[in-house]
Amino acid sequence: MNLQGKVFQGKSWGYLGAIVFLLALWQYAAWSLQTPLLPTPQAAIAATIRLFEADLGKHFWVSTYRVVLSTLTAFLIGLPLGIIMGYEGRIDRFLAPLVYITYPIPKIVFLPLILLFLGLGDGSKIFLITFIVFFQILVTTRDAVRKVQSETISSLRSLGGNRFQVYRYVLLPASLPDVFTSLRLSMGTAIAVLFFAESFATTEGLGYFIMDSWSRAAPDEMFAGIIMMALLGVGLFIVVDFFDNIFCRWQHLNGYKEGK
């Protein structure tokens, strides 16, 4: 079996182990607490399967769409801007204070304004998540570019590389590993914000589904929503890892020896 196959098999066993462990923990908690608020895993899984066809699937896809589109937007704006800020000192001196002042403000406080201007639909949710995730990607990328040693840039310049090529061949690849880390962190943030944004003024999305099940006192359905949220998170992590392995192959060479 080739190397990638082995790694993939190892990861699958890891996921299986984690799922078995969590289910056992859950089962134990359900047995010992004996409360209707915490259903058994069997009940929750049964509800997931039962409801997926009905409307859970639709809520899942709506949430996936919102998270993916907003993270992608944040990435496409944050990455280039972060690289430019990291390399062009003059631009950074101007923009950094702006970022530092606005970054710590919880963007959620602007929700009323966002709802006013973008309405109750997808737009306001996507904007809010993008807004928050954008800062994480921007700051990480900028700091990654700052770490690039001047010799590495000199090396490309000495080959005849121009300014654009410094971006293309040095700054972008050098910052990508950190960018992927920030993307992984952003996934957690994005889903947390998603839940918040979907928990009011909407009738679509996993956040809505969970809050609605709660208010209807249907804990098995509520947990079906939680399971789908976990699946959404895992799915996104797998996608990020997949691209990480393609674009930062040089970072993942551990244990690989020539000829083996």
Binding site: R157, S158, L159, R249
Partner: protein, 255 residues
């Protein structure tokens, strides 16, 4: 001919200004192999950066083959300390990068890159990344990349300093071969007295101090002679270079 005339180089360190070169003059003949030797921080690397066009002299003028240096030059290849390889590119991609940034068409550079990889004995590792190579292999990648540019001037900043003794001698042999085969004008910076005498047709002994001073200039006409390393002349040259370096050190402490 390369002419460095009346060059000053000053850089700002915090609020003070450091004068590395003051009215510095140097001439290098075409086909010469010049070695710069001296203690750390004596401005050897700075001189290479000035010749490469990555740094500009504060005053004065540098002419390479009767053309004034304005920024980097197409036919100058520069191997930086630590080789300047890109860890995210494979051996093959590293070697072809110089030609790629010069917008050479792929089918034109492919054979040249292939040939250089084979010549440097990197065929088996061409899909590996720099982190998977030994120090000697990395140095050969850097050399291959420099030579694909078909330079007329090759600048090297302590290219062999991180290697073990045997690899080092083998690569010194390779450098000598390349220089003799192509009669490239080379400027090499080193810490090693042996290396200086083995590779330099002329050796410039520099002394740190602000500004940098040239304390000795030794011509070494026997360079490249087979078995030179084992001869009496080689030994005499190394002793002479050593004495210049040591005397320089004494002058420094007596001041």
């Amino acid at each position: 001919m390369i002419e460095v005339s009346h060059c000053d180089f000053i850089y700002n360190q915090g609020k003070s200004q450091v004068k590395v070169y003051d009215d510095f003059n140097l001439t290098i003949e075409r086909g010469e192999s010049l070695v710069l030797i001296g203690p750390s921080g004596c401005g050897k690397s700075t001189l290479l950066y000035l010749l490469s066009g990555l740094l500009k002299p504060t005053a004065g003028n540098i002419k390479i083959f009767s053309e004034s240096v304005k920024g980097t030059r197409q036919k100058t290849a520069f191997i930086l300390q630590e080789y300047g390889l890109f860890p995210w590119l494979t051996v093959e991609q590293n070697v072809s990068l110089g030609l790629r940034v010069r917008h050479t068409v792929k089918r034109n550079y492919k054979p040249l890159v292939e040939e250089m990889i084979r010549k440097m004995g990197l065929g088996e590792v061409k899909h590996n990344f720099p982190s998977q190579l030994s120090g000697g292999q990395r140095q050969r990648v850097a050399l291959a990349r420099a030579l694909t540019l078909q330079p007329d001037l090759l600048l090297m900043d302590e290219p062999l300093s991180a290697l073990d003794a045997l690899t080092r001698e083998r690569l010194q042999g390779l450098l000598l071969e390349i220089w003799q085969e192509q009669r490239l004008t080379t400027v090499l910076v080193t810490h090693s007295i042996e290396e200086a005498v083995f590779l330099g047709s002329r050796i410039l002994v520099l002394l740190d101090g602000r500004p940098t001073k040239v304390v000795g200039e030794i011509s070494n006409p026997l360079v490249g002679k087979p078995g030179y390393r084992q001869t009496e002349e080689f030994f005499q040259k190394t002793s002479y270079v050593r004495s210049l370096l040591e005397r320089g050190g004494l002058d420094e402490s007596a001041r």
